[in-house]
Amino acid sequence: MDTDLARTWVQAIAAAVDQHKDHLTQLDSAIGDADHGANMHRGFSAAVTALADYEPDTVGAVLVKTGTTLISTVGGASGPLYGGAFRAIGKALDTPSPDPQQVAAALAAGLASIEKLGAAAPGDKTMIDAYAPALAAFKQQADAGADLAAAAVAAADAAEEGMRATTPMQARKGRASYLGARSIGHQDPGATSTALVFRALAETLGSRAESLGER
């Protein structure tokens, strides 16, 4: 992973969010306040802009800047949560070209930030329910010696599975918790955007791997 790649990841998230904006809002409309698509879109568009002429030395700096931008533009619950996560990930990647183990540790720092701020646990029907399995899968692959691309694909698959698993859950945190049992049967918007984040990572790393392979 390098700074270009980090930037490409953020751009890929922005593109995915742009494409799924209405879907995210629709999911948030069912059990929240119908702004998650707009929130994510505002934040990641701003991040792409902020990164456009930002040329730092480390992957981490790119992601810290992304997190800071999210915090200063998103608002809502997702702003501080994603913003804090990207800042934590970035702070843990203070190197020009981290390896899979380092990335796994950084992603773990991101989750820790979300858990600390949001005080939510797996099963509460939040973004954590996509993030935690994604992290576990990534770590497992990295520990097994897989490369970044392979680890990221496993993470994205796990995130999507985690995302789908939020549907039957009853929310205990965030706005959806106000609905009590009526939150059951709806997929969590934040878990859905987290799945987009990990899928974007997998695609970014995958196409880099391909282009490297083609050389």
Binding site: D33, D35, G37, A38, I71, G76, Y178
Partner: protein, 332 residues
């Protein structure tokens, strides 16, 4: 979607510009999205800052002015503002006596205000926070996000604002805000869903003969769906929930707000208030002060929220103190 707007993305900026044009007593920082008193904060006065998603107007911008807030930070529709906004507000209005953040209990508002408080502390501004969580439709527990903050925000802002104006210290003003919140309970029902500019569609479909019971102010469905009933029954349901959580006895004095959620005609709010006054009257509970109107709205949602504050003599006298804001004004 039928809205008097130009574009969903432009609503907040244009509304802020309209607020600036309409109210000479306010000054609007368009870049930071901060609505503050045009005259600034008197040195030595504790400054009150509130904020939250837009779509609840007149909350919060309409409550900026003498005797109430010093500044408000409006976020996008139904989206908490960002820490930078709150910091800019705190910096703009700190009169040296510290800043009180009045925060409605939503994850987004709480987290963003928390970050802002940290940033403000780094800038040497002393910040205290009052968390408003009055909505008895939501169960409170350490395992959940806790109760939502709704109508009681108006009471907290008014009463704490009056104490600040009278020279109360940051601790005193914060304590009073907490006391008011602790004494206040709310409950709301919706007859229709609201439509955010960004989503363009009503948040839920509600049959012609049904209502959502126990809704918040962000267009989310309520705790349960029921057949629409006469105003008398709706008031009974709401007051039962409120009084179960905050028991009152004959002789208690209250401040009551019958609040329209945005799409309910004022004549209906008076019908509702009539029922509230009757029920409380039967129990010997005095409605010492009241508000009937649109104060904490949910865009175009039809419905009503009731807020009851069991008020002591201090609160009542602070309630009566002069206030001069776009949405609440007396004694000036």
């Amino acid at each position: 979607m039928k809205k008097l707007i130009n574009a969903p993305e432009a609503v907040l900026a244009e509304a802020l510009s309209g607020i600036a044009a309409a109210h000479p007593g306010l000054k609007v920082d368009a870049e930071n999205r901060v609505i503050a008193r045009a005259l600034g904060t008197k040195p030595g006065k504790v400054a009150l800052v509130s904020g939250g998603g837009s779509g609840h107007e007149p909350l919060h911008g309409g409550f900026v002015g003498r005797g109430m807030l010093d500044a408000a930070c409006p976020g996008e529709v139904f989206t908490s503002p960002v820490p930078g906004q709150m910091l800019a507000a705190a910096q703009a209005v700190d009169g040296g006596a510290g800043v009180l953040f009045i925060v409605k209990n939503y994850t987004g508002d709480v987290l963003n205000f928390q970050m802002a408080a940290e940033l403000a502390a780094e800038e040497g501004i002393i910040v205290e926070t009052v968390l408003v969580d009055d909505d008895v439709a939501v169960q409170d527990s350490t395992w959940t996000a806790g109760r939502r903050g709704t109508g009681a925000t108006v009471f907290v802002e008014k009463i704490a604002g009056a104490l600040a104006e009278q020279g109360g210290s940051l601790t005193e003003v914060a304590d009073m805000g907490k006391r008011v919140n602790a004494a206040s309970r709310s409950f709301a029902v919706a007859l229709t869903a609201c439509t955010t500019p960004a989503s363009g569609k009503p948040g839920f479909d509600l049959p012609e003969d049904e209502m959502e019971v126990g809704v918040g102010i962000h267009g989310e469905p309520g705790r349960r769906r029921e057949k629409l009933r006469p105003a008398k029954d709706i008031v009974a349901t709401a007051l039962d929930a409120i009084l179960a959580d905050q028991p009152m006895v004959a002789g208690d004095e209250t401040i009551v707000m019958v609040n329209g959620l945005g799409g309910t005609p004022l004549i209906e709010l008076y019908v509702v208030f009539n029922e509230v006054a009757a029920v409380l009257g039967d129990k010997g509970v005095a409605v010492a002060r009241s508000l009937v109107g649109n104060y904490v709205t949910s865009l175009d949602m039809a419905g009503v929220s009731l807020t009851v504050c069991k008020a002591d003599a201090d609160m009542l006298s602070l309630w009566d103190a002069p206030v001069n804001t776009p949405a609440l004004r007396w004694g000036i």
